[in-house]
């Protein structure tokens, strides 16, 4: 086994998601098939074909072609957006779910912390839950008993340890849960976003505990959206995108890579965008922002007009939709939003293709970078939702006469106002 802790070769995980919709030609067909369906499903279920029984024919690869080799003592951070496949990879490695293809070998006892407090029961006391939860995550009873005092001390709950946890505050609950999890001692540890618990001082304590774990020479794979935590704890980073491993290297480089990728979001907003959702009867195909001259330009001037354009295809010939566009600032805070439903603007007679245009006569945004999210709703469903459809910068301002803008820490949008002095 040498010094290799984990090898993964070409791991892939396919999920069955949607049901195929059968179209019936006659009422008789649909009645006949409605009567037959339960029997067919039952037969499939008894033969052990679970997904066929549920009629799930649409599939999605949550993870694909993932190959990795991790040495003993390495602390690896998995980085990527929601839906990039991080948690799926962790689930496959911790054997919660089977891969659809590929293989992996883990050398050593494996422990996984995919959610703190898994299996906590509200009616049981803290003490009972420590033993139950410990057993669930794979600790032996003697092991739990010998660490019991340590766990209680870490959770700072000594006086409440014989109280049912349903009477705990949520902070107390997560503290106890993390305390149990943190004392799991396996050679390989798989950790999914468990640091975001408790108040700031407890989070510090958790980070301390995790870096102890990391420095003990144990192998740790770590998923978090907190880049600070990743950079502190890990030496190596693995970047996932759309279910595939796209980069693997020193953690600082990978984090940099990820952050710059996040900011260029709009490049592939329309193709293979994992953030994109919707039924798809109306689909956006392109987006741009126009400055006051009418030219496509991602550098805007506050106080001047700006126009946002979204090209669409309307394959299903819907007649009417609502469009919402929200602008987020660099902190991820929604600065403002334009909603046709709110403004009672009717967008009807869509035709097959066309362009939704949102004209802002006076752009009220302070300096900085902004992200645009857009959603198209029909009466029945969200047809297309792209949270990262565009990025633009506000580079200067004529909003106030002097040309200045407020510090963006104190301002999300600018509002016209007049100062004067009376005495």
């Amino acid at each position: 086994m040498g010094d290799i802790a984990i090898t993964a070769h070409n791991l892939g995980k396919m999920y069955h998601i949607g049901a195929r919709v059968d179209r019936y030609r006659t009422l008789r067909d649909s009645i006949a098939s409605g009567v037959k369906a339960p029997f067919i499903k039952m037969a499939r279920l008894l033969r052990g074909h679970a997904s066929a029984a549920a009629n799930l024919n649409e599939t999605i690869w949550a993870l694909r072609h993932a190959s990795l080799e991790i040495r003993h003592g390495e602390v690896v951070g998995l980085i990527g957006r929601n839906g990039a496949g991080k948690s799926t990879l962790l689930k496959v490695l911790s054997r919660i779910t089977e891969p659809t293809e590929g293989s992996a070998t883990l050398y050593g006892r494996v422990g996984s912390l995919l959610e703190v407090g898994t299996g906590f029961h509200p009616e049981l006391t803290g003490r009972e839950n420590i033993f139950l939860n410990g057993a669930i995550i794979g600790m032996k009873r003697v092991e739990i008993a010998s660490k019991f005092d340590e766990i209680v001390a870490f959770s700072e709950l000594d006086t409440f340890i014989d109280t049912p946890v349903k009477h705990y505050s949520s902070g107390m609950y997560t503290r106890l849960a993390f305390a149990v999890a943190a004392h799991l001692e396996t050679e390989i540890l798989l950790v999914d976003e468990v640091l975001a618990v408790g108040d700031v001082s407890f989070q510090k304590k958790c980070m301390g505990k995790m870096s102890d774990v990391a420095s003990q020479g144990r192998t740790v794979i770590f998923v978090s959206h907190n880049m600070g935590a990743i950079q502190t704890l890990c030496t190596r980073g693995v970047l996932l995108r759309g279910g595939e491993i796209v980069r693997d290297g020193a953690v600082d480089e990978i984090v940099q890579d990820y952050l710059s990728y996040l900011n260029e979001g709009a490049v592939d907003a329309f193709v293979n965008n994992p953030e994109r959702q919707g039924a798809g009867n109306v689909k956006l195909t392109a987006a741009r922002v126009l400055d006051d001259t009418g030219a496509s330009n991602p550098h805007l001037v506050s106080g001047k007009p700006a126009t946002f354009e979204f090209d669409y295809e309307n394959a299903s010939r819907l007649s009417q939709v609502d469009v919402v566009m929200t602008i987020y600032n660099y902190l991820g805070i929604a600065a403002t939003s334009f909603n046709t439903r709110v403004s009672r603007t009717e967008l009807s007679g869509l035709g097959e293709t066309g362009t939704f245009r949102c004209h802002v006569p006076v752009l009220p945004l302070p300096l900085g970078q902004f992200r645009v999210a857009v959603a198209v709703h029909s009466n029945t469903a969200t047809e297309d939702l792209i949270p990262n459809v565009l990025l633009f910068d506000v580079v200067s301002s004529t909003f106030y006469e002097g040309g200045g803008t407020p510090d963006p820490r104190y301002c999300t949008v600018m509002v016209q106002a007049h100062w004067d002095l009376r005495r």
Binding site: A50, A54, V92, R95, A104, T105, Y107, E123, I136, K140
Partner: protein, 297 residues
């Protein structure tokens, strides 16, 4: 068998230090050694089920006694008095309760096991452990209720002794653990099938109480299998619970029963066979479906 088991265990334990992950296809074997390694989890889950079962109830564990006792009262009045059912020389309440004892163990176990995977889906999706632990612990946790109800049986026997019935147990009481084992196998066997199906289709949850009710009436609880002539009486043993309840009744109340009530050994043998088939089939079906649990639970 035992020595083999142990050597296999240690081998598997050593091998478990190196975990292979790959897709499996079709019918798979059960990893017994791993199940054994997780026996403490089995214990803690059982303890949890027992501890929380009657929490926040006024009567607490009293419910384990009240349920079968009330059923007994109802059936004694309806079947014993109104319908004048056969009870082979016994007072109807004792006749009924002796059969109700193992039946309640079985049906509670069956219902709990069937819903166990769905009820524990949060754990299934977040932690790996042999999934078999969950239904097994559900069935085992019903044993506590059984023990409490057994006290009622003893009280009933003492009470009716005062009325002149002889309830000195037969030497056959030594077989009670074996009968209870058959009930356990049947309960777990059916529970494994149903719990695995329940993960995929929640219809099972609604079907189980109905199934248990049907099973109740085809099992000689409110009636005795002695009403059938051979070979039909032996064939009753195809339902393992028939042998269990008749066996319980005979072992506990044999001296006061009509002669000829004793279940035949061929009936019991048939029951052992069908319970084993149900259990083995259940285990393999469960093992086959296990790989999808985390994805669909």
């Amino acid at each position: 068998m035992n020595a083999d088991d142990i050597s296999q265990n240690t081998a598997a334990m050593a091998a478990s230090q190196c975990i292979q992950i790959r897709p499996t296809k079709g019918w798979v074997s059960v990893r017994w050694a791993e199940l054994w390694a997780y026996r403490e989890l089995l214990f803690f889950l059982m303890l949890r089920d027992i501890t929380i079962r009657y929490k926040q109830t006024v009567l607490g564990a009293g419910w384990a006694i009240i349920q079968p006792v009330m059923t007994m009262v109802v059936f004694s009045v309806i079947i014993g008095r109104v319908a004048k059912g056969q009870s082979y020389g016994l007072p109807y309440p004792v006749f009924f309760f002796a059969a109700m004892l193992p039946w309640t163990f079985f049906s509670n176990g069956l219902e709990r096991a069937s819903n166990s995977l769905v009820g524990n889906s949060a754990i299934l999706k977040k932690v790996y452990f042999p999934r078999l632990v969950i239904p097994i612990s559900s069935v085992l946790s019903s044993f506590v209720d059984f023990c409490l109800a057994f006290l009622v049986q003893i009280a009933l026997m003492i009470g009716y002794s005062a009325k002149g019935f002889s309830f000195v147990p037969m030497p056959h009481v030594l077989f009670l653990p074996l009968l209870l084992l058959i009930a356990f196998m049947t309960s777990l066997g059916a529970g494994l099938w149903l719990s695995a199906m329940n993960v995929q289709f929640r219809d099972v949850r609604y079907a189980v109480p109905f199934l248990a009710q049907m099973w109740f009436f085809v099992t000689p609880i409110i009636w005795g299998s002695a009403k059938f002539s051979e070979p039909w009486r032996t064939l009753c043993g195809l339902n393992p619970m028939a042998s269990v309840v008749e066996g319980f009744r005979y072992a506990l109340l044999g001296r006061a029963l009509d002669p000829g009530f004793a279940p035949s050994s061929s009936m019991i043998a048939l029951s052992v066979l069908s319970a084993s088939l149900l259990l083995v089939g259940g285990v393999f079906y469960f093992a086959r479906m296990e790989r999808t649990f985390a994805d669909v639970a």
